[in-house]
């Protein structure tokens, strides 16, 4: 007996297949049967009325920190994937800076086992480039790729040794996995707690200049050009880095990039509150940078949106600003923030946002998903553009509450997350 679900009457936006219109989505046994068309309505189908809502391929966040193993007080695979589902994401790629580091197969296996037993969305591990994230010796990347790592990154730290990074690019070429660059020259950013600009000058907080990011983006583009590898720039945040990526793409370099919601809608002005939840790395930049990142997202220089979901306990964020940990949670606020702040005013077209959250990230990491093509796994995100929500960290499924968006009143939100044809209960 087949299980059939029909998402009825919604506006389907499926960028990978050029679909944008009111269609019914028919799901059979966890796979997309068809979108639209006049086929017979199967008997006994479970019909979900999504009239007035937007039906998209399941959103994919290729940059999250699930913190397990090692930092279960911040987040676990169970809580992090629930946060993802609550925020409209059907898949996440998780970074390697766990404890122990995901630099060997046993950790990858552990994460995937946790994801199978406790996760509610798909989990794709990202392996470490260097053993222990120490930037000295390559991790066992062939075995990590075989175990299921979809990319390699020392995210959270930059690989300062250019030769090691070159070798990582070369070594991973046969696997088809990109290296993901946390582009930060740590000598230029040494001691910094925010972006270097007039605000850091006024606040007397040491700043990281935009150049700390730019020089590494430039380096990694040159290395990608030399090796032919695919380098993906994580959390790109400066105007110059946007320009460097744009120019490199025009030359045919295999470089891609992501931007976070917070770098799109916040600037370093937010740090004036001395709220530890405005502290992350890369830091909130100036208006000119935020504008350039948005422009890059619109014109495709920046390929996708990723949250850099970085859970931390309240005690790690609430004290003195310079002692606060870097990073904020993002899974449960990203889509609503972007719908309200970018789509609703008309700055960003809804189909572009959907593409940057689904088809584009799937393409970058060669992931299944990001498409509602017949036969694809039925991972679906449903949006209600009229839903009014107030960000309340106490309601988060994440174990952590470190968001700069607390109290924001937003219009537009994800309202249903379907993984493999089943609605995820969050």
């Amino acid at each position: 007996m087949k299980t059939t679900t029909i998402l009825k009457g919604g506006r389907v936006i499926d960028p990978a297949n050029g679909v944008d219109g009111v269609q019914d989505v028919v799901i059979v046994d966890g796979r997309i049967e068809r979108v639209g068309g006049a086929g017979p309505m199967p008997k006994g189908a479970d019909v979900i009325d999504v009239a007035g809502k937007v039906v998209c391929p399941g959103f994919i966040d290729i940059h999250v920190h699930l913190r397990e193993p090692g930092f279960e007080y911040k987040e676990t695979v169970a809580s992090g994937t629930r946060a993802a589902a609550a925020g409209g994401f059907t898949a996440v790629a998780c970074m390697a800076n766990t404890q122990p580091v995901n630099d060997n197969r046993s950790i990858t296996d552990y994460i995937l086992a946790k994801a199978r037993s406790e996760g509610v969305v798909r989990v794709y591990p990202i392996g470490a480039v260097s053993r222990g994230l120490e930037g000295k010796v390559l991790s066992e990347m062939a075995e990590l790729a075989e175990a299921g790592c979809v990319a390699f990154s020392d995210d959270g730290k930059c690989v300062m040794d250019a030769n090691l990074y070159r070798r990582a690019m070369e070594y991973t070429l046969p696997f088809g996995t990109p290296v993901i660059s946390h582009a930060e020259d740590c000598s230029l950013a040494h001691g910094a707690a925010m972006h270097e600009g007039v605000v850091s000058t006024e606040l007397g907080i040491p700043g990281a200049p935009a150049a700390a990011e730019d020089v590494m983006v430039a380096r990694d583009i040159l290395l990608a050009e030399m090796t032919g590898a695919h380098v993906h720039i994580a959390h790109l945040s400066t105007a110059t880095a946007v320009r460097l990526v744009r120019e490199a793409k025009a030359r045919g370099v295999r470089v891609t990039a992501e931007a976070t919601p917070h770098h799109l809608v916040l600037t370093d002005e937010a740090v004036r509150s001395f709220d530890g939840n405005t502290k992350m790395n890369p830091p909130l930049r100036g208006t000119r940078d935020a504008d350039a990142v948005l422009e890059g997202l619109i014109d495709g220089t920046i390929d996708c949106i990723a949250t850099d979901h970085a859970p931390h306990a309240t005690s790690e964020k609430e004290g003195e600003f310079d002692h606060a940990a870097f990073g904020i949670v993002g899974l449960e606020t990203a889509v609503a923030v972007l719908l309200d702040r970018l789509v609703r005013p008309g700055t960003l077209a809804l189909p572009t946002l959907v593409a940057r959250l689904s088809a584009d990230p799937a393409r970058l990491l060669n992931l299944p998903g990001g498409s509602l093509a017949p036969g694809a796994a039925a991972d679906v995100t449903v949006l209600d553009l009229d839903a009014r929500v107030t960000v309340d960290p106490k309601q988060f499924r994440s174990k952590s509450r470190n968001t700069p968006f607390a109290g924001w009143q937003l219009t537009g939100a994800p309202v249903m997350t379907i993984v493999g044809g089943a609605v995820v209960k969050v």
Partner: protein, 311 residues
Amino acid sequence: MAWTRKDLLTMRDLDAAEITLLVDSAASLEEIASREIKKVPALRGKTIVNLFYENSTRTRTSFEIAGKWLSADVINFSASGSSAAKGESFLDTAKNIEAMSPDVVVVRHSSSGASEILARAMRCSIVNAGDGCHEHPTQALLDLLTIRERKGHLEGLQVAIVGDIAHSRVARSNIHAMRKLGMTVTVAGPPTLIPPFVGELGVKVSHRLEDAIRDVDVIMMLRLQQERMTGGLIPSLREYSRYWGLTLDKLAAHARPDVLIMHPGPVNRGVELSPEVADGPYSVILDQVAKGVAVRMAVLVLLAGSKAAQA
């Protein structure tokens, strides 16, 4: 004009009228220092906690004397090193102190924004006695009082602030206050000690001492921290003092004869100031220290008094 704020955190927050009120109030309290019995009952029954996370002799003593002359009970709470090093979190310490019902907490901390964080967490009044490289509002107030008494006015005066601007909370508080009061400010030092984009705060920037001190009414020299060399910001103390140290020769050659020399202390003699300048006729450094007590009395009265008025 009446004081309405719960806290004194920054000069950036204040408008010109508020700054003037504080300076006027301090001027009216100055004479207490010359009384035979230095005690007025203004804050009798009030409790002031000096919460100092950074070593400080001058500022802590100044606040302590100010509180005592006003008849408040003053408690010194020294937390050596950072709160993290001590084991108890900054906010836990704040909550513990709050449980003892102080009226005013005076906080000095190495982290920028520490006083703002306390002000949000505590119901009592907070006075920022210096937070990181951010602000030191009572220092700016005592500088203004010192200048006004010597020059008779503030508006239109030209001030050069010289030295490590990048790491100076004194410079930041003075820049904000002086700009609001219609004074002209030039910051001067080697480019590595001038913070980026400081021109956007409405100041001029000079990279040559001789240019910076020409024709100004006030020269404010800042202390050079020894650790700036290890940070790669200057090559040596020797080179710094050669180009940025203020000597009588440089003063005679470039400065006005009625210029005031100020320094927030403690002075590195022979580095930013030659001993002859520090002790010389232009120097008003000890005047600044004396006025510091009056300024802190004024701040405490306005904060603790305004709350009493509301009650």
